[in-house]
């Protein structure tokens, strides 16, 4: 077992964990932050995408011990004072989700993308989301959501 300290969604946690505990399981089962999901075991699908120190990472391909001392943001840490992040609002407005299972990972990857490239074109958006699979939407509305969000990144949106 190993002692780790991780700041998740603004809250600092300290736990003893087995070195092999995957970050996604630490979040889901250790911290009950079940907004982050597991979809594959090969780093392909991106359902488990979270931000580590502000950059997208796949939490199924990280051990919790590797996150020691780092800051993690999950989809459950995006809203501020009950107001949605513009990316969350954009996914809703453009019907960029159906079953919603890939959505948290997709939203986190999209936020990370816009941080690096605030005004991506369609091809850049599609390439930047290559590591996040969606089986429901065919991606077109997800691309539209990112385009819409890119125009509103500085404005927290009212919860609806």
């Amino acid at each position: 077992m190993r002692r780790i300290q991780v700041k998740v969604n603004g809250v600092t946690y300290e736990h003893e964990v087995e070195p092999r505990l995957l970050l996604v399981h630490y979040l889901r089962e250790g911290l009950n932050l079940t907004g982050t999901m597991v979809g594959c075991n090969t780093s392909n699908c991106g359902a488990c995408t979270v931000l580590m120190d502000g950059e997208s990472v796949k939490s199924c391909t990280l051990f919790a011990v590797q996150a020691d001392g780092h800051e993690i943001t999950t989809v459950q840490g995006l809203a501020e004072n009950g107001r949605w992040h513009p990316m969350q609002a954009a996914f809703h407005e453009t019907h960029a989700l159906q079953c919603g299972y890939c959505t948290p990972g997709m939203i986190m990857a999209s936020i990370s993308m816009l941080k690096e490239n605030p005004e991506p074109n369609e091809d850049e958006i599609r390439e930047a989301l290559e590591g996040n699979y969606c089986r429901c939407t065919g991606y077109e509305n997800i691309v539209k959501a990112v385009q819409l969000a890119s125009q509103h990144m500085d404005q927290p949106t009212a919860a609806s």
Partner: protein
């Protein structure tokens, strides 16, 4: 799937990593970004008993201009290589290729030294390093040595790195204004490994080619150079590219898998070499 249990050690310096490697021996594995190793561990295809984490060695993340060449800390992440202005200005092929590895989330974790140490012949960086004729710096119990990329990749997932050695730095030449480059990756999906990749670094001289260095991905057990093409292009006119590219698969031994037969890989290497050299000439 869940990995087999292991012990976890954090290296707080390169010397410490070397010491830990000596202490734990063959059963131990170095981990940096972990994006090659952790999926294998999850499928229980790899089961090291000790992981030695290099990822805290922040002083191995840098890009420096050394005059003729750039030196890049081994733990520099792919995404940082991709976005680095020095890399973009002086060695565009390296930055471009770093942006092709896996996907952005993978690039946020994976490191330049890590992908080279992995020695995967389907990896894009090894053939780019071979085309660039870059150098790796490794540190071991007996000190530091430099290894030319062309001598580093020994066999399938097997490199020149000794058991207790750690890659600390990667050096790549600064490409001049007469040097064109291209990395053409052929994959079934954007996220996939290269079925075939061709790295071209071409020295131009008044409308003709003075020399060309062509690296091949996934055409054998190690990254390869298309030396027959390079010879044919030396001093050649741009109208001779297509013919020269036809020998791109000479001396290669590509495998057959679900994505491509050996024959298809040979064919792709020829087409892709032509297109890569043509792109390099235009860049």
């Amino acid at each position: 799937m869940i990995p087999v249990a292991f012990d976890y050690e954090v290296a707080d310096s390169v010397d410490h990593a070397i010491e830990l490697l000596g202490q734990h021996g063959e059963e131990s594995k170095l981990i940096a970004g972990g994006h090659s190793l952790i999926p294998l561990m999850r499928l229980r295809l790899a089961a090291p008993t000790v992981l030695i984490d290099l990822d805290r060695l922040e002083d191995l993340r840098y890009v420096r201009d050394e005059g003729d060449y750039l030196s890049i800390g081994a733990l520099t992440r792919h995404r940082d290589v991709h976005n680095n202005p020095l890399v973009q200005e002086h060695c565009g092929i390296l930055g471009y290729t770093a942006g092709l590895l896996g996907d952005p989330s993978v690039q946020h974790r994976g490191t330049l030294g890590g992908t080279l140490a992995h020695g995967d012949p389907a990896g894009d960086m090894p053939s780019v390093m071979c085309a660039l004729e870059g150098t790796l710096v490794a540190q071991g119990p007996d000190g530091e040595r430099t290894i030319p990329a062309l001598e580093f990749f020994k066999d399938y997932f097997f490199t020149d790195l000794a058991e207790q050695e750690v890659i600390t730095e990667v050096r790549v030449p600064k490409l001049g204004s007469n040097t064109g480059w291209s990395y053409k990756k052929f994959s079934r999906r954007s996220q996939d490994w290269a079925v075939v990749g061709v790295a071209a670094v071409v020295e131009k001289d008044n409308g003709s080619i003075s020399s060309a260095r062509i690296g091949l991905t996934s055409m054998g057990n190690t990254p390869l150079r298309a030396s027959a093409v390079e010879e044919a292009l030396s001093g050649a006119g741009t109208d001779q590219v297509a013919e020269a590219a036809n020998s791109a698969d000479e001396g290669t031994s590509p495998g057959t898998d679900d994505a491509a037969s050996s024959e298809f890989r040979r064919h792709l290497a020829r087409v892709w070499t032509r297109r890569a050299v043509e792109e390099a000439l235009g860049r």
